[in-house]
């Protein structure tokens, strides 16, 4: 049982504060959704937890199983169990998915220890079968010339292979048509379980029809302003974000 605890987090890019005192606890087995209008700091939150160098944490803390991760490099956090499914994954020309994942696995091993190649491929193919991904897929260069749906499937496959403790899914539904959305959601649902905590960041409620969250949080102006269960997402869908803004003003 693991926990990811965000405590009164403040984040800035340069002088501009983007996250303004956000607190959230995610435990293994839980699926949290953060919803909110554009520009409220949702994606920033995900990148900061993953250790993106562009952002400065100006206050608060992020704890993985009780220990702060803010001093750690992005790769150390990744090896500790934080996985970010990117909204816009980078292309890595000339590096096949299989080789990339292999390098990522190798990076998790002790120095001098060699990855068992045949066991690795066996595992890779098992995960691909589970996610219904064609075998030819992994010989393609990472994200190069991929459609929106392929990029997201590539992220899900990586997540399946790296078996993180916590997955931060940044706008996983963006750029997907309904079919791709269903396939990707099936993938996430397959990976869900008692050992994985999920934080889904999304603008639209439709993703939550496919991946049903245990908790829904509304983020506005750098803070979580409302939390509830999945019915909150539906309420948001019918009333719009203006409803939250109005409530805030009245409060």
């Amino acid at each position: 049982m693991s926990s990811l605890v965000i405590q009164d987090l403040h984040v800035a890019i340069g002088e501009k504060e983007i996250v303004k005192g956000l607190s959230l606890t995610i435990n293994s087995g839980e699926v949290h959704a953060i919803m909110g209008p554009n520009g409220t700091g949702k994606s920033t939150l995900a990148k900061v937890i993953a250790g993106h160098p562009d952002y400065t944490v100006t206050g608060g803390d992020v704890l993985l199983d009780g220990a702060s991760i803010l001093e750690k490099e992005a790769d150390e956090r990744a090896r500790a169990g934080i996985f970010l499914a990117f909204q816009y994954p980078s292309e890595i020309p000339g590096v096949s998915i299989a080789n990339f994942l292999r390098a990522a696995q190798q990076a998790r091993m002790a120095e001098g220890e060699e990855l068992d190649a045949s066991a690795y491929y066996k595992r890779l193919y098992a995960k691909m079968d589970m996610l219904k991904i064609d075998r030819k897929f992994t010989s393609r260069s990472v994200n190069e010339g991929f459609s929106g749906g392929e990029k997201k499937r590539c992220e899900i496959l990586q997540m399946a292979m790296l078996e993180p403790k916590f997955a931060l899914m940044d706008e996983t539904d963006s750029g997907l048509d309904i079919d791709a959305l269903r396939i990707v959601s099936e993938g996430v649902n397959t990976l869900k379980g008692p050992n994985l905590g999920v934080l889904m960041i999304t603008h639209y409620q439709r993703l939550l029809n496919y991946i049903v969250p245990d908790f829904v949080h509304v983020m506005y102006d750098g803070r979580i302003v409302k939390s509830g269960d999945k019915s909150l997402a539906l309420e948001l869908e019918s009333k719009g974000y203006d409803w939250v803004k109005k409530e805030l003003v009245t409060a």
Binding site: A74, F86, V95, A117, Y125
Partner: protein, 482 residues
């Protein structure tokens, strides 16, 4: 169900579970004390040239050839009007031009003197020979310490000896082609090589003989303030095929070292020569090499050239496409790290109808490293049906890196076809962050990005060399992260 091994091979031909012990920069950076029996002293005069010629017991015409070359060398200016001024930092008076422990290479490793043998053992040469080579020549400073060709290849009539022995034992073939592809006066450094050359390989492959395994030469500089001037001549007779590979290392000295080779290839009608270089010089080496081949009718010459290390490399392998339907190719990878300048490229001289040439050059500049591509493609007006394809791709890592491209493509007439593409890309922060987010360190991420950049070329190399190239890139990139 196929075994997992087969599957992994299908998917990833370049990846290897347990890379063979190749050479890397840490492996190359060592030196054992060696007593030299022959030493031409420091500096270059007529006497130096006479000494080298006398020690080798050469025929009078060779001595004359050398003395004439010395005059040409002195008369020619440095090419610093177009090339880097760093060339002016070479002090020819402080270089030792000939150092050797013996005149005749040994045929078995047991006979090689211990002080030299341990160097090559540490570099893994005898082991590689057993595994996948048809023949090996191992040059230590000026002369080959070891030279051997497998019986099965020798029985086919293939000659594989060092240049000294080639001149002595096979003058009838050697003299006919020697200095014809690259004349003494081609450039200042080809003249220098022609005056003081020693070592290098002489290869002759008889008509129709296809040498199945590669022949390999290994060039090792061991002494400080030394100049290595090997001379290689490869003749593939009609319809024959041969692959030649060379590797090179030197320890890191505080002073500079000069390596100035001349390599001439002749592919007669329908012959194929593939020449592969993986150089890994220490970063104090001036590496100024002239390489050119002549491809006769329907012949093919392919240069695969990987330049890692050195202080300055200037090298533009070329092919003169002399016969109808001849093909020439240069595949080049250059990695310029801090304090290094890789000035490399290719020359394709079309001199017959329906000749085709292909140039693919990839350069990586890291930190303050600088890479330059210079290319010449020449197709005269009277020819028809000639084709050239040139691709130059540069990858920049860190903002201080510099890259220049000087493609000179001269195509006259309207019956020929030329295509040129160039690109410059950067390893950007987002790409590095993406890879780090998957658990790779910054160094591993950069290394993977560079390996991806050269991957389509590395796939064309023999397995052992692509593994070695990957290891060298890994080491360079690991070291470049602050």
């Amino acid at each position: 169900m196929p075994t997992t091994d087969t599957l992994s091979n299908e998917l990833e031909p370049v990846t290897i579970e347990n890379p063979v012990a190749g050479i890397d920069q840490t492996k190359g950076d060592f030196q054992y004390d060696v007593t030299y029996e022959f030493d031409a002293g420091t500096g270059l005069t007529e006497k130096t040239v006479d000494y080298i010629s006398a020690v080798k017991k050469e025929a009078p015409w060779i001595r004359e050839f050398r003395q004439n070359a010395l005059k040409v060398f002195r008369a020619k200016p440095m090419p610093t009007h177009w090339a880097t001024k760093d060339l002016e930092n070479i002090n020819f008076d402080k270089i030792r031009y000939y150092l050797a422990s013996g005149q005749k290479p040994k045929r078995t490793w047991d006979e090689v003197p211990d002080d030299i043998k341990r160097t090559f053992e540490r570099l893994g040469i005898p082991e590689q020979e057993r595994k996948y080579l048809a023949g090996v020549e191992a040059q230590f400073d000026s002369e080959a310490a070891y030279s051997n060709i497998k019986d099965i290849v020798a029985k086919q009539g293939v000659i594989f000896v060092n240049s000294t022995e080639g001149l002595r034992e096979h003058p009838e073939i050697f003299r006919k082609f020697f200095g014809k592809v690259i004349p003494t006066g081609d450039n200042k450094f080809s003249a220098l090589n022609s005056a003081v050359f020693s070592g290098g390989s002489f290869i002759y492959v008889p008509p129709g003989v296809k040498v199945a395994q590669p022949l390999q030469a290994y060039f090792r500089i061991n002494a400080e303030n030394f100049g290595q001037f090997e001379r290689t001549l490869i003749i593939a007779d009609e319809g024959s095929e041969v692959t030649y590979m060379e590797g090179c290392t030197a320890p890191k000295f505080s002073t500079s070292t000069l390596h100035s080779a001349v390599v001439e290839l002749v592919a007669l009608k329908g012959a194929k020569i593939q020449y592969i270089t993986v150089q890994n010089w220490a970063n104090n080496v001036f590496n100024l090499v002239t390489k050119r081949g002549v491809a006769h009718e329907e012949a093919e010459i392919k240069w695969i050239d990987c330049n890692i290390g050195s202080r300055l490399t200037m090298k533009y392998p070329g092919v003169v496409l002399k016969g109808r339907k001849a093909r020439g190719e240069v595949i080049s990878i250059a990695l310029a790290n801090d304090g290094q300048h890789q000035d490399t490229g290719a020359k394709m001289i079309h001199a017959a109808d329906e000749t085709t040439s292909n140039i693919v050059a990839k350069s990586i500049s890291v930190g303050q490293g600088r890479s330059t591509y210079r290319g010449v493609v020449h197709i005269p007006k009277h020819l028809k049906g000639c084709k050239n394809n040139t691709e130059c791709d540069a990858l920049l890592i860190n903002t201080n890196s510099r890259t220049d491209t000087y493609p000179a493509i001269t195509v006259r007439g309207d019956r020929n076809y030329v295509q040129h593409e160039a690109s410059v890309s950067k390893v950007n922060e987002e790409m590095i962050f993406y890879m780090q987010q998957r658990g790779l360190t910054e160094g591993q991420a950069m290394s993977l990005a560079v390996n991806g950049f050269v991957n389509d070329l590395a796939r064309q190399f023999p397995m052992e060399y692509s593994v070695e190239l990957k290891r060298l890139i890994d080491l360079e990139m690991e070291g470049s992260v602050g």
